[in-house]
Amino acid sequence: MSTGWWVVALLGTVTVACKAAGPVALGGWRPPERAAAVLDLVFPVVLAALLVVAVFVDGRELRFDARVAGLLAAIAALAWKAPPLVVVVVAVATTAATRFVL
């Protein structure tokens, strides 16, 4: 088996297991209060982590570039109570325009 296929097989196994673990073990489950309190925080925690890595990180460096302008534009749109599609379009357009200018 080539190196590439080894990576495909091993990474695939890890990912399939991570995704399946919760639903296979706990499908239709009603979590007890303390577990529910922890799981309740997964949403803000994961979204905040994905967000800051997507906007402020380049490789292993922190970087402030056109993406920050896109984020600020998205926040401005949200403050104006814009629907999600508008927020996405505003963020994308602002980021692209800023990159074009810089």
Partner: protein, 219 residues
């Protein structure tokens, strides 16, 4: 329904289209990088089908392409996909059917589908989770095939398309920030992530930040 919470509303459904379009184009980029790392169409598609997670796949084949070796590639990709464990746990109550059906449906889990399916009461809407997940999955596989075949990278960044997912994340997070526990958890998670970035390999910051959820025990 809280007006500021987008999940499960018609508004959230509108966001599916840009998510699917971005997945297709990001898939093309992955296909190109996979080819440069020596993966054929079969291996690239197999990876997209089983490791379904854009950042993890691009990082893993990126390590391979730069001569980093298979163990390093697997480790990097695994760290980046480790978040699906707590995300799967949070969405677990929404999956129905036999254990193998739940496990199979869970393979459609992706960041955007998971985020968009979240309802105000903290549950995940099973239909949004599966339908959006399936659309993104198909777009991701199609993009991968196009990227391997066409061998031409789409310049996602020139079009600002790398901001589609972050814009959705901030929109969904926005509705949660009125709750002080969610706000504190989000700020702590962002801080942990940014502090770790300069000192740890890709994937570690996000995986470590998910541990902030355990603060829920301290209430």
């Amino acid at each position: 329904m809280d007006n500021s919470d987008y999940a499960n509303t018609a508004g959230a459904r509108q966001a599916v289209l840009p998510v699917v379009a971005a997945a297709l184009l990001f898939g093309v980029s992955f296909g190109v990088v996979a080819t440069s790392a020596g993966l054929g169409l079969d291996a690239a598609l197999a990876m997209s089908a089983t490791s379904f997670g854009g950042a993890a796949q691009v990082a893993a084949v990126g390590v391979l392409a730069s001569g980093g070796g298979a163990p390093s590639a697997v480790l990097t990709g695994s760290l980046l996909n480790l978040r699906y464990l707590p995300m799967g746990l949070a969405a677990a109550p929404s999956y129905r059917g036999s254990w193998w059906a739940r496990g199979a449906q869970a393979q459609l889990l992706g960041d955007e589908a998971w985020a968009l399916s979240r309802a105000t009461d903290g549950r995940h809407d099973a239909r949004t989770l599966l339908h959006t997940g399936a659309l993104v999955y198909v777009a991701w596989l199609a993009g991968t095939a196009l990227g391997v075949a066409a061998l031409r990278e789409v310049d996602l960044e020139a079009w600002g398309l790398d901001m589609v997912s972050p814009a959705i994340f901030v929109a969904l997070l926005w509705g949660r920030l009125a709750d002080s526990r969610h706000r504190r958890a989000a700020i702590a998670s962002a801080a942990v992530c940014l502090l770790l970035v300069p000192f740890t390999p890709a994937g570690v910051p996000i995986a470590a930040a998910t541990l902030v959820c355990l603060a829920g025990l301290a209430r």
